[in-house]
């Protein structure tokens, strides 16, 4: 094993880990006063790590040269695509955090905790490892590194009981899911005699025994929890509502990307020889997520809960691309992921901007009545995001749904595509309700405060990507997604 080459392949992770450790020392000596500088340094490290993966992403890398540490990790185009999304989401989570923690709604006396950026960095390292895992052991360790940081992030507002409840719920259910996943992995190990993806795949050829089938189901269930797909979604609304809003924005983007990318890699590279076994499971989860996500959101009064159901709904569409089980479907899934991340960041930034002059945050439907009069810019941005989430042309959300449906129909899964389209019409109800409340109701005028420049920047940027101008991105986005999906199918 060539250690120099291996370490060169994981250079972005090394940069992030090293910066995380150094910033931890700064946090220990500087205290919470240094939190903002630490956040800037952490965002810079994520940016550097992002720059490091650009050449590989642009030219495409696959084959044996991408295997690090004797095949424990695989840094191919697919992993790099997911990493780029993860780093971008993490930077956004760092950018939006300081104003939130300084607001009276957060209930902290001294603003942001200095450990927040450090934990985000370590979570990013964990997610990077997840998406480049090529062995069940590296998969599990990456997943745990990410989850453990996430539990702490959810509970980071100690004085807020909702935050504590969110952290505890996430921790208990997450530990249960990890246990299920681990049990599935040990079953697969027992019946195939290996933990490396290639070894398990080689052991899963031909008729699959009951034990191995249980292993497949348990692994998929554990992963479904991490991406909050129905029927393992029950934690999502509670955790999203209770966690501090920047943390919720982080949960809705980066860990989702990582877990979806991981699931796709596992089903194609490990269970690739048993498509009939996993396809029906993933298809069920996809349709159930789309339907339950759409139905559950109706009647929600809290906007964060509503966005939680919306994310369940979107995960359904992403899984629909996965359930197609070919390179087109995988590519459509990646395109959808990118657009979903942009929409989610935009929505949550807009939520964070709903504040009054003292900086108190508002997060229910009653508070945004008539927002178009008091805060027209935020209202119009939210209109773009909501119409895009509903999949209304000419916004970019329409393109995301379009590529997924196209892949579904071309693979001959017309009936499933039809169900998904019908459910997305139900989903449109609450997205449009958002717009109706903002534009046609009597203004209540509680949202009067000014927002920070970092929020405006992110809001403008995401709105620009989602607007019809975003279609200029689609050729290069489709190209990158195709390359990434192709490297996923090299092993098949």
């Amino acid at each position: 094993m060539d250690f120099a080459a291996s370490f060169a392949l994981v250079l972005p992770e090394l940069v992030l880990t090293g910066t995380g450790l150094a910033l931890l020392l700064v946090a220990a000596w500087g205290g919470d006063k240094a939190a903002r500088q630490i956040a800037i340094a952490a965002a810079a490290a994520l940016f550097v790590a992002g720059i490091l993966i650009v050449p590989g992403l642009h030219f495409g890398t696959d084959g044996p040269a991408t295997l690090a540490f004797g095949g424990l990790l695989k840094v191919d185009s697919y992993a790099l695509f997911a990493k780029a999304l993860i780093y971008l989401s993490a930077i956004a989570a760092l950018m939006i955090a300081p104003p939130f923690f300084a607001s009276p709604s957060a209930g902290t006396e001294r603003g942001m905790r200095a450990e927040y950026p450090v934990l985000v960095l370590f979570a990013a390292v964990g997610m990077s490892l997840m998406v480049s895992a090529n062995d069940f052991m590296s998969l599990y360790l990456g997943l745990e590194l990410n989850s453990l940081s996430a539990y702490v992030l959810a509970a980071i507002l100690r004085r807020d009981t909702r935050s504590g409840e969110a952290g505890l719920k996430y921790f208990v259910l997450g530990a249960l899911a990890s246990g299920i996943l681990l049990y599935g992995m040990s079953l697969l190990y027992g019946f195939t005699g290996g933990t490396a993806f290639a070894a398990v795949r080689a052991g899963l050829t031909g008729e699959m025994g009951t034990g191995a089938l249980f292993g497949v189901i348990f692994v998929l269930s554990g992963l479904a929890f991490k991406i909050s797909a129905v029927p393992f979604h029950m934690w999502t609304p509670d955790v999203y509502e209770g966690a501090p809003t920047p943390v919720t924005a982080f949960f809705a983007t980066a860990p989702k990307v990582a877990a979806v990318a991981l699931t796709a890699r596992v089903v194609f590279e490990v269970f690739g020889g048993q498509v009939t076994a996993w396809q029906q499971i993933v298809m069920f989860m996809a349709l159930a997520s789309i339907i339950f996500g759409a139905l559950g959101a109706i009647g929600q009064e809290n906007l964060k809960r509503l966005l939680a159901y919306s994310s369940i709904n979107n995960i359904g569409f992403i899984l629909l691309g996965l359930a197609v089980a070919n390179a087109d479907g995988a590519s459509a899934m990646l395109v959808y992921l990118f657009i979903y991340v942009a929409m989610s960041i935009g929505c949550f930034v807009a939520l964070l901007m709903l504040r009054d002059e003292e900086g108190n945050l508002y997060e229910t439907f009653t508070d945004i009545r008539g927002l178009s009069v008091t805060q027209p810019a935020i209202a119009w941005a939210l209109l773009i995001f909501m119409f895009s989430l509903a999949g209304i042309p000419p916004l970019l959300g329409f393109y995301a749904k379009f590529v997924v449906f196209q892949a579904t129909i071309e693979a001959g899964l017309v009936a499933f595509g039809a169900i998904a389209i019908a459910a997305s019409v139900i989903g449109a109800f609450y997205y449009i309700k958002f717009v109706k409340v903002m534009f046609f109701d009597e203004p209540v005028g509680v949202v009067t405060g000014k927002s920070e420049a970092s929020h405006w920047t992110l809001l403008g940027l995401t709105a620009l990507i989602i607007s019809p101008l975003g279609y200029l991105l689609t050729p290069s986005l489709a190209d990158l997604a195709d390359k990434a999906a192709a490297s996923l199918f090299l092993a098949v």
Binding site: L72, F122, V152
Partner: protein
């Protein structure tokens, strides 16, 4: 062979006996001490099997950390052990049932393995034996060679766990209210600052 057999029965008897004493001892601190004895003898059994690494783990992890943790719990938490034991005879059938189920599972597993047809480990059922290396060396070579990256990630995970515990529990001192030790102040303090001698009349109180 004879010495091995004697050693085995010696260790095994003590393990079983001290395990019984863990349950029977009236004083919970004694229970934990019996548990430590059981761990030590189990480590002896592992050495007999040639698994010296597991023997060391038993002593270091179980005796060194887990048992001490138990002792802390027993001694520092206010647990009413008498109340916990009150339902012993009532719950005994349930306990026996669970024990019987566990025993049956164990027998079933061993029986199924002996009957053949089950392969564990590598697909052909043979785990490769490292030649001429002690298993500590073999494990070390894997852990610090092939799996070094996983080992390092595990270290980071433990670090994150520690950060998490501190972030969620640490109460920073309030500004102004100093609860910290000031060594200089302690040394400067003289007996006459802190103590007074009084010689009160019998039957009279004193005023301080």
């Amino acid at each position: 062979m004879l010495i091995q057999a004697i050693a085995f029965y010696f260790f095994a008897t003590i393990v079983v006996a001290s395990a019984v004493m863990v349950v029977m001892a009236r004083n919970p601190v004694h229970s934990v001490l019996w548990l430590i004895l059981a761990f030590f003898n189990a480590a002896g059994l592992m050495v007999l099997l040639g698994a010296e690494f597991i023997a060391m783990l038993l002593v270091i992890v179980y005796v060194g950390a887990v048992a001490v943790l138990f002792l802390f719990v027993v001694m520092m938490l206010d647990i009413d052990f008498a109340a916990m034991r009150a339902g012993f005879s009532r719950n005994a059938p349930l306990g026996l049932l669970i024990a019987a189920v566990l025993l049956a599972e164990l027998l079933l597993g061993v029986g199924a393995y002996n009957a053949g047809g089950l392969t564990l480990g590598t697909p052909d059922g043979t785990a490769t034996q490292a030649a001429d290396v002690s298993n500590i060396e073999a494990l070390g070579a894997l852990l610090y060679g092939r799996y070094i990256i996983l080992f390092e990630i595990a270290g980071i995970i433990l670090l994150v766990a520690m950060i998490g515990a501190i972030v969620l529990t640490f109460q920073p001192p309030k500004p102004g209210a100093r609860a910290r030790q000031d060594v200089g102040k302690q040394i400067r303090r003289r007996p006459e600052d802190a103590t007074v001698m009084k010689n009160p009349e019998i039957g009279q109180g004193i005023e301080l």
